[in-house]
């Protein structure tokens, strides 16, 4: 890595200016995040402060975890897939999480399922999802790596297939078992349980730490598979490890708020537009900040200003869907 260090000393003025701009943008994003978190906590508190802080603290906590997880996972997934329109959400990953959860209840029964604590339950789910996800995505990346759009379409259809299978399995369940499942599956973040929040937050932090040493290699993977291999990166190992981290992050965000199809897509693309850099350390950090900003500010508007008139996921789907169509139409004109 001495070569890298040497290059860093001889930066051109443009490069230095760009670095400054990246740092400024990141600082501004962080500041905005803090502002919105504080605003969310303090806006129009009536009645008991202790109660409001407890409730809103948990809500903000889960929003932050979701924003960070969605931001980081989508950005590195885009790099690995080599495309701006591919994110775990678009590829049906969230739907897969729900399917795994339902299948576990279906196979082992709800009593076994509930005997596990929140933490163990989450770990079992995330573990199964990670295994599944890696197998599935390795297969997809290998079988049709030349046609990106095929991959996206398969992902979208897989998402709806998983949703159908989930609904199929849940119909086969005993109504009592289904009730316990429903509590777990539709954990709305307006009343998120503290223990689940703690578990997901810890897992997210661990996943992010595991991601840090990979970021440098992802800069090279971004150049494409052949270039990365030629430059001496162990491509398959990096991709597999990254995908493992991505599945864990998706599991955390889905466990907290359920599937949000387009959140990652919007966040990762916004981050790439805001930051004129290809360094993944900066990009991932920026993507996490944009993610937090989107979820906290979005929920602030939806929850406080619009008085719960709608839900965040509806807004995200609406905005994200239109954005995705525009992206597709532009991509095709290339």
């Amino acid at each position: 890595m001495t070569a890298l260090a040497a290059r860093a000393d001889h930066r051109s003025p443009e490069e230095a200016a760009r670095r400054r701009r990246v740092r400024l943008t990141l600082g501004a994003l962080a500041l905005l995040c803090v502002l919105f978190v504080v605003a969310y906590l303090l806006y129009d508190v009536r009645g008991s402060w202790a109660y409001a802080m407890d409730l809103r603290g948990r809500q903000v906590g889960s929003l932050v975890v979701v924003g960070v997880a969605a931001g980081a996972s989508s950005l590195v997934f885009q790099t690995v897939a080599g495309s701006r329109i591919l994110t775990p959400g678009v590829m049906g990953f969230d739907a897969l999480y729900l399917l795994v959860q339902t299948s576990i209840v279906f196979v082992f029964g709800s009593t076994t399922f509930m005997m596990l604590g929140t933490g163990e339950r989450f770990l079992v789910n995330a573990g199964v999802l990670t295994l599944f996800g890696i197998v599935l995505f390795r297969w997809l990346f290998r079988s049709s790596s030349h046609n990106l759009l095929v991959l996206v379409l398969v992902g979208v259809v897989l998402g709806s297939l998983f949703a159908s299978l989930t609904s199929f399995a849940s119909r086969l369940l005993d109504p009592n078992e289904f009730l316990t499942l429903q509590d777990v599956m539709f954990a709305s973040f307006s009343t998120v349980a503290l223990d689940l929040l703690v578990v997901t937050a810890v897992v997210t932090v661990v996943a992010l730490v595991a991601l840090v040493p990979l970021l440098r290699y992802l800069d090279v993977v971004d150049l494409g598979r052949d270039n990365a291999v030629a430059l001496g990166v162990r491509y398959h190992r990096v991709v597999t490890l990254t995908l493992a981290v991505v599945t864990v992050l998706v599991a955390t965000s889905t466990a907290l708020v359920g599937p949000m199809l387009f959140l990652g897509l919007i966040v990762a693309n916004l981050a790439r537009q805001l930051l004129p850099t290809h360094r993944h350390t900066d990009l991932v950090l920026g993507s996490c900040l944009v993610g937090v900003l989107c979820t906290v500010a979005g929920q602030f508007v939806v929850g406080h200003l619009m008085d719960q008139g709608t839900t965040l996921s509806v807004v995200v789907n609406l905005v994200g869907g239109i954005y995705f169509i525009l992206l597709l139409m532009r991509t095709v004109r290339l």
Binding site: L149, V150, V152, V154, V157, S164, L261, T310
Partner: protein, 338 residues
Amino acid sequence: MSAPTTTRPAATTGRGGVRRWHLVAAGLVLAVGAYLSLAVGASELGLAELLSPSEDQLRILTISRIPRLVAILLAGASLSVAGLIMQRITQNRFVSPSTSGTVEAAVLGILLATLFFGSTSLLGKMALAIVTSVAGTLVFLTMLRRIRHREGIVVALVGLMYGGVLSAITVFLAYQRDLIQYLDIWTTGSFSSVLEGRYEPIYLVLLAGVVGYLSADRFTVIGMGEEFATNLGLNYQRILYTGLVVVSVMAAVVVVVVGTIPFLGLIVPNVVTLLLGDNVRRVLPVTALAGAGFVLACDVVGRWIIHPYEIPVATIAGAIGGVVFIWLILRSAGGVPA
């Protein structure tokens, strides 16, 4: 990958393709399914009882079982035919009512009817649903023209996303009026609520089907492009709109009476075309039979798995349809040299 090349000559020579025994076989399969559909249920009916039912059994048959069978056959046939027509008009194998916003627009129409006109009749909802689904499909066709590169897969993606945006709008409106639960009922296709007196509007698809069949050859021609069709002396716009209305009426009527059945309009015509070639007039009756048979099978299976309860047909069709759709995508991707 050798199978499709063997079917193509049959289609171009105009003979072979659809043979009479295909229709006979499809008819026989359908008859067995129809018998099962009449017999399976909370109270079982044997063959003897079907032929000479007691008074109670007769009531079960006329109030529930026969309407249900009719609705299944019509819904399956019409959605498949709608898919076939759309695929010919746009010359794109991945277009169908459920991948182009038509169905989602119809659901939006039902919601609007409920919001603005209170508890309207089935016919009122249907009228508005037809209007919105024509409009929704029109928007999709306009988008289709904007995309210069009309690769099948891109179009399917844009269509699916467009449908997603439409349903996000629907959910947005429904959430504010606390109608989410109703939305769930409309969007999950199920025949369990099909009873005498509540399904008759579905006969409207027969009318649309006749119009579609009579214009079948013209759909084939305009699928070859606007200039080609105009050169042959056809009024391109008028035929395009005929097709549009036929498809939208079919989709909207089925959504109002039954609910949505995912991927049906996509997979059935594709599989039939793969096997039998792509002459609309020849393929249309087989497509209708196959669609009816597929939905019938899904429904009988759904009623049988957790007897005496039932699984909505949309769930089963969605699971099977998703797998077939993915197979079709990978197949078409594999066919193109990378």
